[in-house]
Symmetry: C2
Subunit: 406 residues, 2 copies
């Protein structure tokens, strides 16, 4: 009997956890497992706002794939996916092609710019390790440049973050911690620097409990963050950003606009012809694509409706990690010739937002609200728990967050 080929595309939260689970549940004689990823590392997307601010180094936020994937059991291919051909059970890569019997698509997100002029050219995005450390260096560079110009340019010190959702808020929280350090490094008076958060909705963190939103805004405003709500970003220019509020256009001079207001599924999914809903595959209960019995979709490329609210579950690390249990179970079952598949059921474990490294807020255990250091502590514990699941205690010690109280 021929061993089935299992191919996992992407080593994000969903892909890497599926791979790690499969290498435990399938013997070397039961299947060939191949993991494809652009980089030779997995990274913590939920820590990228810290990398982008320069408060966490990228090497803490990424994990070498060889450190968590057993190379005796899994074939790792470092390459970029160009197209999936589900009719032919093939994946086209930049430098080759792979055949599969079972496929797991975990190709993550792309930024969504909604056609706003100039965003793609002029704004920075918190996408991945490369783009995040670039933002960090861009901040440093502008602060360093400030005193080298006879005519001081305030645009160098105005940091505009588009989007007051989860990422935008967590990012301005890190900036509030980082800016005083940058000011010290480059001899700049802190009062010269502006951190501005633009949000289109009437309030930041739409959908969050109002008490939590108020806590976050107070904490961040006390540390110098300015919020402009009800502000629609109209254009990003090389040296400014334009928004509309109350029918009026306002221009802020800035060399640093960070766009954190929207993501969409990797466009390869749509390009490859999968039935999709705004680019995402609305998966069956067992996490398979509707049209293909051997193709699973996980994480940001998958869409699952929340029956209660009638809206899709948001694309989070938490849901991708939970989905990996179902996907890994079902792939292993099919590979072993079983036909009974599990259904995915989402168990919300709460949501915690950091507001810089020493403050935070959120909800855990269903409806318990947490504020301040308790929230930060729980969030760091949850980050460490993920590392434990992914690579054991060694990985927690190597990449975990232990700066609980300072």
């Amino acid at each position: 009997m021929k061993k089935p080929n299992i191919v996992v595309l992407g080593a994000g939260y969903g892909g890497i956890m599926t791979t790690v689970k499969l290498q435990k549940s399938l013997g070397r004689n039961e299947a060939n497992i191949t993991l494809v990823n652009k980089n030779d590392y997995h990274y913590q997307t939920t820590w990228l706002h810290e990398v982008s601010a320069g408060t966490v180094h990228q090497d803490q936020a990424r994990i070498a794939i060889k450190d968590v994937v057993n190379q005796h059991k899994v074939n790792f291919v470092q390459d970029t996916v160009v197209e999936i051909k589900p009719e032919e059970n093939k994946v086209k890569l930049e430098n080759g092609e792979l055949d599969y019997d079972y496929l797991v698509i975990g190709l993550g997100f792309e930024p969504a710019t909604f056609g706003i002029p100039g965003l793609e050219e002029n704004a920075f995005m918190i996408n991945d390790i490369n783009s995040s450390r670039l933002i960090r260096e861009h901040l440093d560079y502008n602060f360093a440049q400030y005193h080298n110009e006879k005519e001081k340019n305030p645009a160098r010190l105005n940091i505009v973050v588009g989007g007051g959702g989860f990422t935008g808020i967590e990012y301005v929280g890190e900036l509030a911690n980082r800016v005083p350090e940058l000011c010290k490094e480059y001899d700049i008076d802190k009062s010269q620097v502006r951190i501005i958060n633009l949000e289109g909705a009437p309030t930041v963190l739409p959908g969050f409990d109002p008490e939590l939103v108020e806590y976050a805004m107070n904490s961040l405003e006390a540390r110098g963050v300015e919020f402009i709500t009800g502000a629609i970003l109209k254009e990003s220019k090389p040296e400014s950003v334009v928004y509309e509020k109350d029918g009026k256009l306002v221009e802020i001079p800035t060399l640093t606009t960070v766009w954190a207001a929207g993501v969409k599924a990797n466009s390869i999914v749509e390009k490859s012809g999968f039935e999709n809903n705004r680019g995402k595959v609305q998966v069956r209960d067992d996490m398979r694509a509707p049209e293909y019995d051997n193709v699973f979709v996980i994480g940001d490329c998958a869409l699952i409706m929340n029956e209660e609210s009638g809206r899709p579950f948001p694309p989070t690390a938490q849901i991708a990690i939970q989905q990996s249990a179902t996907v890994a179970h079902n792939v292993a079952a099919l590979a072993k010739g079983h036909s009974e598949l599990e259904s995915f059921e989402y168990k919300p474990l709460g949501t915690l937002a950091s507001l810089g490294h020493n403050d935070g807020m959120g909800v855990v255990f269903g409806n318990k609200k947490l504020f301040g250091w308790k929230a930060t502590f729980m969030k760091k514990m949850s980050d460490n728990r993920y590392l434990l699941k992914l690579g054991g205690i060694g990985l927690v010690l190597k990449k975990g967050k232990f700066n609980f109280f300072y």
Copy 2:
């Protein structure tokens, strides 16, 4: 009797050492001493190649003026000199004016670009703390940008240093140490990076002993530095540099051209009408300007002929520090009403060049050649000796160089 006003312009090597010596030799009832400087810190110009490479942090290379100048004895004015009016015994500052009875001009150097097109706009200069940390950040930024572009741009990884004199050679030496770190930080293959030194003369370090020059070139080439000698820089463009060699024009794509091939005296000296020789005041034996009995000139703004060679002594920290003893003695003598002034006599103590933090070469004790770690050790000891003279053992411990063997 009216206390005389002593004004020292500039807190470089010459100015700060003169001030520190004056505060020891003159009582508070004997004179008013005022030190004027643009920044509230003194910096080690001879360490700026390290700050520019990112191998030494600017805070190690600078010293708060209040840490070495006694504020009970010296009035420190943080301001920029606009013009000296020696006929009126006045100094015009950006934010005020000072009267003096005795003046010490220690205003340092400016880069000399010899009218080469584009240099001022497009090249970086190792001038001061601001410009040096900007170069460091510029390198970081370009390395960070490299993987964010679909079309990889080699100009981001080509570093061109114009000038194979002392500063240029010391700078490429630091780069040879720094580039592997940058490659690691930004996931770049070291073989993609070029460090190119352009020198117009047939050899780098013209005037140095040929054995030392060969040692330096071998050491640096072994660490990846490319030397192009007999190459005249013709133009610096935003994305390239053009040089002429053997009658042919060659263009190197680069976003980083560092110009380290010439300095001139601060142009305020010439602008203020002093009799000068290419911008420098050819001082009398007692370090006074020829036309004014109450004006001393020190360091890079002063010109002293070497009788043996018939050429001026080069502008170095060593000579400025030695001059400060003569200047401080003579200013104090005049302030006390004496008329016997000392003559300056230069005692060459040797010349040591670093080639990165763990290699170096040079001459000490008249004609003893040193290579490798011995040269580095001696150079670091000499740096520490300066700190000892400036601010005592406390300053040595705070800002000294103790990484002798790694």
